[in-house]
C-alpha cells in the first residue's frame, strides 16, 4: 500500500497541506491578488528548475545558469537601449547563450571535466566577461521598446500573469522533449548508466553539448521574463544564492541527483511547494534566516521520506553507489 508513495506524491501532499493551513491561518493568503503574485514569483524559479532538471537527469549539473540568465538578458536590454531593433538584439543574446552552452558541453564532454567544476568556472567567466564587455553597469533597466516585448513578463492572458504562461510553455516543451524525442530518451540513458550509453552507441558527447545548449537557452528565456516583469535586471544576481533554490526545487520534486530519474512533473511539484512556502513565510514576515532554515529542513524531510519508502536495490544500497 505504501508503495505508491514516492517523493513526488509526498511533496505534493505537503504542498496541499501547507496550502490549506496557510489559507486557514493566514489572513489574505487566499485572496486572488496574493495567489496570482504567488505563482508569478515562482515562475522564474520554475523555468530555471526545468533547465536544471535537464542537466541533473543526464547526470550533470549546471551552476552557470544563474550567470547566463542575468548577463544575457542585461545585454539584450543594453543593446535595445542603445538603439538596436529588438529582433536583432534577441538574435545576439541567443547566439551568446548558445556559445555558453557549447563551451559548457565541450568542457564536460570532450575535455572531461566534471560538470560541477566546468559550470562553476564557466559561471564566473560569463559574469566577468559580461561585466567587462557587455553590460558595464550592474543594473540595466528597460527603456524604449515595443510594448509587446514588455508584455512577456508583465502582461496577462485571460487574467493569468504571463510569466506563469511562459513557465507552462517551457515545462510543456521540456516534457515533450524528454518524453517523446530521441535525444530526450538518450539523456535519460546517459543519466542511468553513462558507460552503457556509450557502448550501446548513443552519441554521448554530442548529446551533452545539446543538453547544455538547451539549458542555456532556457536560462535566456528566464532572464527575459525576469527583466520584463521587473522592468530591469541586475547582473549581480549571478553572485546570489539563488542557484541553491533552483537545485532545491529540482531535488525536492524528486529528481535524484544520481541521474536518470524523474521528469518535468517533479519540477512542477517542487516549484509549487517552494512557491507556497515562500509566499506564506513572506506573509508571516519571517526573517531571511528563518526562511532558509525552514526550506532546508523541508528538503531533508523529503529526502529522508523518499529513502525510507523507496529503498534502492538492496545489494547496491549496502555497498554504496558504485
Amino acid at each position: 500500500m505504501l508503495r505508491g508513495l514516492n517523493q513526488e506524491r509526498i511533496v505534493f501532499t505537503i504542498a496541499v497541506v501547507l496550502f490549506v493551513l496557510f489559507s486557514v491561518l493566514l489572513p489574505g493568503f487566499l485572496s486572488a491578488g496574493n495567489l496570482l503574485s504567488l505563482i508569478q514569483n515562482v515562475s522564474i524559479l520554475g523555468i530555471l528548475g526545468v533547465a536544471m532538471a535537464i542537466a541533473i537527469i543526464g547526470r550533470g549539473i549546471d551552476l552557470s545558469i544563474l550567470s547566463t540568465m542575468p548577463v544575457s538578458a542585461a545585454w539584450l536590454l543594453t543593446l535595445v537601449n542603445g538603439g538596436m531593433p529588438i529582433g536583432l538584439a534577441f538574435v545576439c543574446a541567443l547566439g551568446f547563450v548558445i556559445a555558453v552552452g557549447i563551451i559548457n558541453g565541450t568542457l564536460i564532454a570532450y575535455v572531461e571535466i566534471p560538470a560541477i567544476f566546468a559550470t562553476l568556472a564557466m559561471g564566473i567567466v560569463v559574469y566577468g566577461f559580461g561585466k567587462a564587455f557587455m553590460t558595464p553597469i550592474d543594473a540595466v533597466y528597460t527603456g524604449r521598446g515595443e510594448s509587446w516585448f514588455y508584455a512577456i513578463g508583465s502582461g496577462r492572458v485571460l487574467g493569468i500573469p504571463s510569466p506563469v504562461i511562459v513557465f507552462a510553455l517551457v515545462a510543456a516543451a521540456a516534457f515533450l522533449f524528454l518524453r517523446t524525442l530521441k535525444p530526450g530518451r538518450f539523456i535519460y540513458g546517459m543519466g542511468d548508466n553513462p558507460l552503457a550509453a556509450r557502448v550501446t552507441g548513443i552519441p554521448v558527447r554530442p548529446m551533452i553539448i545539446l543538453q547544455y545548449v538547451i539549458i542555456s537557452i532556457i536560462a535566456l528565456i528566464a532572464g527575459i521574463v525576469m527583466a520584463t516583469a521587473l522592468a530591469g535586471i541586475n547582473t549581480r544576481l549571478a553572485l546570489s544564492t539563488m542557484v541553491y533554490d533552483v537545485i532545491l526545487v529540482v531535488v525536492l520534486g524528486g529528481i535524484g541527483l544520481a541521474g536518470g530519474k524523474g521528469g518535468i512533473r517533479n519540477v512542477v511539484v517542487g516549484t509549487l511547494l517552494i512557491g507556497i512556502l515562500l509566499n506564506g513565510m513572506t506573509i508571516m514576515n519571517l526573517t531571511y534566516t528563518v526562511q532558509s532554515i525552514l526550506k532546508s529542513v523541508i528538503l531533508l524531510l523529503a529526502i529522508v521520506a523518499d529513502t525510507l519508502l523507496n529503498p534502492r536495490d538492496e545489494q547496491t544500497a549496502q555497498h554504496g553507489d558504485i
Partner: protein, 498 residues
C-alpha cells in the same frame, strides 16, 4: 552433523509476488552445499536473506539453533556469515589492496604495509592479482578473484558464493576449488551457487535444487547425476548433447572476409595481434586471463578509448576503420556484447522494453526522431519471447531481474541493433543450462543467417560447441588457429598456456 543455518517455511515476496516460497533449508556444519536452479529460481534471493541483504516476508531462520534476522550485511558478518555477490560490489576508484581491507582500516594506514599484506594474502590463495592495480582497470575475472579474497579474509563460519566461477578461466577455477576445499577443512561451511553442474557435482557434499522459488530436491551429492539435476531444475530432461557439437555437423563454409585486424597493439595488453573474421561463421576466441581477448574486441568495436590505441589497422571489408566511439561501430553494424553487464550493459532504472528500445534508437533500427510506444512494446514482446526473458512483473526495472535474465536483456538489446558483425564476450555468463542451450542455438542461427559472429569465452566446451574456427590468444595476441575438426581441448589448452 549439526545444522548451522536452518530456514523453516521461509517466504520472500517482492511486491506481493513470491520469489522464494515456504522453503525449508539446512546448511550443516563444515559442508559444501551447492544451490542449483534455473535463472530466476530464487537462489540469490534465498541466500541474500541469510546474509542480511533482504529480510524474509515470513518464516523463521536459525543460526546454531538461535533465531536470527539480520538487518544489514555488517550484522551478518559479525555473526560469521559472508557473501560474495553475483554482481561486483568493489569500489572501482580504489586499488585492489584498499578494496580488500575496506572497512577494516585503522586510523592511519601505511599504504606500503597494506600492499604487502594484500600481496601475501593473495599469493596464499594462489590468486595472481596485483594489489596496487586500480579495480576499474581489472577484467571481470580479476574482479571476481578480489571479491572472493575479500570474503575469505573475513574469517567467518559461513561463506556464500553466488556464481563465483562464471567469470573465471579453467586455471583460476582450479585455484578457487582448491581454496574452497581448504576452507572446508578449516571448518567453514560453504554455500555454492552455480550453473556449471559438473562443478557442483565435483565439489559439493550436498545439493539442493530450486525451481520457481521452491525446493524440488535436496540430497547428498552422491545421489545426483547431471540428468537428475536437470530434471529437477526444469521438470523434464533436456537432450544430452548440450555441449557437444551434433555428430556429423560440418563446420559452416568460410564466408566473405568481413573484418581483418592487422598488427594491432594497445599498451601492454594487446601486442601486435592479427586475425580475420568471416561472415556466416562463428569464430571462437579462447584464452586465459590477460590474454587480451576482450581488449582486442573492444578496440574493434570502438569501446576502448583511442588514446590507448597504439597502432595497427582494423579493416572492415576494404575500408580502414579505427573507431573512436562505439557509435561509429554500431552505425557500421559492429556490436560488442559486454562481459560486465552491470557496469556497461543495461540501464538499471529502466524497464525491459525501455532498455531494448534504447538499443534500437541508438542504432537507428527503430523510431525516427520520435519515440513510438507501440513499436517499443512490439520489440519487447518479440524479444522477451525469443530469448524467454522472465520477470516477476512486466514493468520490472532491469535491476530487479535475476542475473541470467539481465544477461538475456543485454543480448537482446544488442540484437535489436541488427548488427552484421556481433562480438559476444562471455555470452552465457550466469545463464542456466536450459537457457545456455537456447542461447547457443540462437548464436548458431545468427551465423546461419550470414552474420559474422565472434564468441569470446573462458569455457572450453562452449568454444568447442559453437565455433567453426577457434582462435587462441596468449599474452596479447592470437597465437594459433584451429578448424573444428582439428581442435581438441588438449591442443587448445596447450596453445593457450605455452
Amino acid at each position: 552433523m549439526n545444522a548451522l543455518i536452518e530456514m523453516r517455511q521461509v517466504t520472500k515476496a517482492y511486491r506481493g509476488v513470491p520469489a522464494v516460497t515456504k522453503v525449508d533449508f539446512v546448511l550443516r556444519e563444515g559442508e559444501i552445499h551447492a544451490l542449483l536452479g534455473e535463472n530466476g529460481a530464487g537462489k540469490s534471493t534465498l541466500t541474500k536473506m541469510m546474509c542480511g541483504v533482504t529480510l524474509p516476508t515470513s518464516g523463521e531462520m536459525f543460526l546454531s539453533g538461535a533465531p536470527f534476522r539480520f538487518e544489514t550485511p555488517a550484522e551478518a558478518l559479525e555473526n560469521g556469515i559472508a557473501m560474495v555477490f553475483q554482481e561486483t560490489s568493489l569500489v572501482p576508484s580504489m586499488t585492489v589492496a584498499q578494496n580488500l581491507y575496506l572497512g577494516d582500516e585503522r586510523l592511519f594506514n601505511r599504504i606500503r604495509g597494506l600492499n604487502i599484506a594484500a600481496q601475501t594474502f593473495l599469493q596464499s590463495l594462489n590468486f595472481n592479482v596485483n594489489p596496487t592495480a586500480l579495480v576499474s582497470a581489472l577484467g571481470a575475472a580479476h574482479k571476481q578473484m578480489v571479491e572472493i579474497a575479500r570474503a575469505v579474509r573475513k574469517k567467518v563460519r559461513v561463506i556464500i558464493f553466488d556464481e563465483p566461477t562464471a567469470a573465471l578461466t579453467p586455471e583460476e577455477k582450479h585455484h578457487f576449488f582448491a581454496l574452497v576445499r581448504r576452507l572446508k577443512q578449516s571448518g567453514v561451511s560453504i554455500i555454492f551457487i552455480s550453473h556449471a553442474l559438473e562443478e557442483a557435482l565435483a565439489i559439493a557434499d550436498r545439493i539442493t535444487v530450486l525451481r520457481d522459488g521452491e525446493i524440488v530436491a535436496s540430497d547428498d551429492a552422491g545421489a545426483f547425476d547431471r540428468d537428475r539435476i536437470i530434471r529437477a531444475m526444469v521438470g523434464r530432461s533436456l537432450s544430452g548433447s548440450l555441449y557437444r557439437r551434433e555428430a556429423g555437423q560440418a563446420a559452416r563454409p568460410v564466408g566473405e572476409k568481413v573484418l581483418s585486424v592487422q598488427n594491432v597493439s594497445m599498451g601492454s595488453i594487446v601486442r601486435n595481434t592479427s586475425f580475420s573474421i568471416y561472415s556466416g561463421q562463428v569464430t571462437g576466441m579462447f584464452g586465459l586471463i590477460g590474454s587480451g581477448r576482450t581488449e582486442a574486441a573492444k578496440i574493434i568495436a570502438g569501446v576502448a578509448k583511442r588514446n590507448f590505441f597504439n597502432g595497427g589497422e582494423v579493416r572492415l571489408h576494404d575500408r580502414s576503420v579505427r573507431y573512436r566511439v562505439p557509435r561509429q561501430a554500431v552505425a557500421d553494424g559492429i556490436v560488442y556484447v559486454t562481459e560486465d553487464r552491470k557496469l556497461e550493459g543495461f540501464f538499471e532504472t529502466m524497464t525491459i522494453p525501455e532498455n531494448l528500445y534504447m538499443g534500437a534508437l541508438a542504432a537507428g533500427t527503430a523510431g525516427g526522431m520520435l519515440v513510438d510506444m507501440a513499436e517499443m512494446r512490439a520489440i519487447a514482446a518479440e524479444w522477451t519471447r525469443t530469448l524467454n526473458v522472465r520477470a516477476i512483473n512486466p514493468n520490472a526495472r532491469v535491476i530487479e531481474l535475476s542475473g541470467g535474465n539481465q544477461q538475456k536483456v543485454v543480448i537482446a538489446k544488442s540484437l535489436v541493433q541488427k548488427p552484421k558483425i556481433i562480438i559476444f564476450d562471455e555470452p552465457t555468463r550466469g545463464v542456466d543450462v536450459g537457457a545456455i542451450a537456447e542461447i547457443h542455438q540462437f548464436i548458431n542461427g545468427l551465423a546461419d543467417q550470414g552474420l559474422a559472429v565472434v564468441v569470446i569465452s573462458s569455457y572450453l566446451p562452449e568454444i568447442m560447441n559453437l565455433s567453426d574456427r577457434i582462435l587462441v590468444c596468449r599474452s596479447g595476441r592470437v597465437v594459433e588457429e584451429f578448424g573444428p575438426d582439428e581442435a581438441t581441448e588438449e591442443k587448445i589448452m596447450y596453445a593457450a598456456v605455452h
